[in-house]
Amino acid sequence: VQLLNLLADAAGLPPSTAEVPVRALLPVAYSFAQETYPELLDDDVNAFPLWLPWLSPQPAYTLRRPPLRARSLLHRPGLWLRLLLRRFRLRLRQTFWARLSGRERRWYRWRKQLAALLSVRYGLAPGGLAVLLEDDERFVLYLQRFLAEHHIPYALPLYDPQGHYLFAAPGKVEVLARALLHAVARGRDNELFVLLADLLEIGEHLGPLLRAVKVALARHHAVVVVCPWPPGLPLPSADGGDGEGLAAPTPRGKGKAAATAELVTRATLLRFHRAYHEVRRTFGRLAVPVVCARAEDSVRLILDRLERLRGQRRGVR
């Protein structure tokens, strides 16, 4: 029951990421706050000095810049130049455009007023206002929390500019590895450890978990990995292909929008299939089976493994 409660609590958590730009959430949150908490945005309690965006707009050095990576050593000088130009452009924008543009100044006012509201609402006062006003990441996280609490829909990007899945949460690998080692240390019989975790798209962070699985296997335990699978997507083939031969989804409309939607669906499908096969190959080297939660044979596989373990125990006796 405790496990189910924990799972239910985790399922109820809203997705949030610090990678969202402030501009994507600020207008939604401000217009909602204006409708719901007008008394907290009133000038009497939440004043904004008109000269502030003119004299002290947000400086360029506190803004996030997506990292650039050189594909080879030959590209290093070009990358350095691009980085320099990008920094210069950002500084130029914050020095001139942030002061002159009416929209930028309005957004700065919105941000200050929302920062004050969020700071009081989440008990960050008295210093929370300055933190949220200057730190984009924290401000965006609190904005998402505020919107999620009020059930306001907002769009979140799933991938960063480099194509990394933003909700992969590689931190869970460490947690899982620690839990597995803990269980192995206390296991007396030959146990079957079923890892129910979304390990897709975090291939490069699997090291600690692989080491823990090796320890479990060395102690004659069995391990099975069950990965969740998004609803609506076809299951990956068992032959280990990359999904290249997958049939294109049926078009739902005509024109560019339909073509784009098809492309996105197909790219997503390929991406999931490749990620699944990579995880499968990684664990396959340790003879650990990986199945999709939606696959019909996942339950059968677990029962089969359990039966095999029981047989081993009878053999030992």
Partner: protein, 268 residues
């Protein structure tokens, strides 16, 4: 038809007519009172402006009529005073024309404002609500008109009109009493000041002190009824205003260092 649509309809002609007649009657009373000193150019302008205000429903008409009337009164006083006719009287004496003037002015101003409530809007338009889908112009401003709420014409009753007309002389008598009280202050205070100046100073002082006390009372009442979140916002805002420069420098430095750390971690 729902309620807002019903309110948006042209108000009942009867209600409009009633307040138009009140305004015209008020204007006639003002001119009657002015006739005791002889009509001049200012009075002619007053008549034209008053009629135009009623016919075209000018929103600024009550204020303009008041300004013109005050100008006419001051002009008349200066004219008579220059001839030594003693309009700058030290004491107070009853004049029926003053009562008529008060009643007429009050009837015109109040009647016109009620007319505006029926034809234009009863409360100032809410800038957060616009008619139709909000659209922004090239400068970023909303081009839609804010929603205006008129007073429903069916709410104008005979009782309202009777109370309004019966209270007109009451306010005029009260104004006369106030004027008489002001005129007797010189003897009480013993100040050697011209009577008009003393009246002006007393009225200004009373308005300033009264306004200040009222504002302080409302501010105190608002603070007493304030929610804890609002009070916390005020305290937070005060602290931020006082230490904004230091807090900003610290937090910007922290944000910069965190971004730099994250950048180093991501660099291969």
């Amino acid at each position: 038809m729902n309620r807002p649509e019903a309110d948006r309809r042209e108000p009942g002609e009867a209600a409009l007519l009633i307040y138009q007649v009140v305004c015209l009657a008020g204007l006639a009373l003002v001119l009657m009172a002015q006739m005791t000193h002889g009509l001049g150019l200012v009075d002619l302008l007053l008549l034209l402006l008053g009629l135009l205000g009623v016919a075209a429903r000018l929103r600024a008409a009550p204020v303009l009529v008041l300004i013109l009337l005050a100008f006419g009164q001051l002009n008349q006083a200066a004219f008579l005073g220059a001839r030594g006719w003693g309009l700058r009287r030290a004491g107070w004496s009853f004049h029926a024309s003053d009562i008529v003037l008060c009643c007429g002015t009050f009837a015109y101003v109040a009647g016109h404002l009620r007319l505006q409530a029926l034809t234009s809007y009863i409360l100032p338009p809410d800038r957060r609500q616009y008619e139709g889908t909000p659209r922004r112009g090239p400068l970023g401003w909303f081009t839609n008109r804010p929603v205006r709420r008129r007073r429903a014409a069916r709410l104008v009753t005979a009782a309202e009109l009777i109370v309004f007309l019966l209270t007109l002389p009451l306010w005029a008598v009260l104004a006369q009493a106030g004027w008489a009280w002001l005129s007797t202050r010189q003897a009480v205070l013993g100040l050697d000041l011209p009577t008009p100046l003393l009246r002006f100073l007393l009225v200004t002082w009373l308005l300033a002190v009264g306004g200040g006390v009222t504002a302080a009372g409302f501010a105190q009442w608002r603070r007493r009824t304030m929610a804890p979140a609002e009070a916390a916002m005020i305290l937070q805002d005060v602290l931020w205003r006082e230490t904004r420069r230091e807090q900003r420098r610290l937090q910007r430095w922290l944000a910069w260092s965190r971004l730099r750390r994250a950048g180093r971690k991501e660099t291969p």
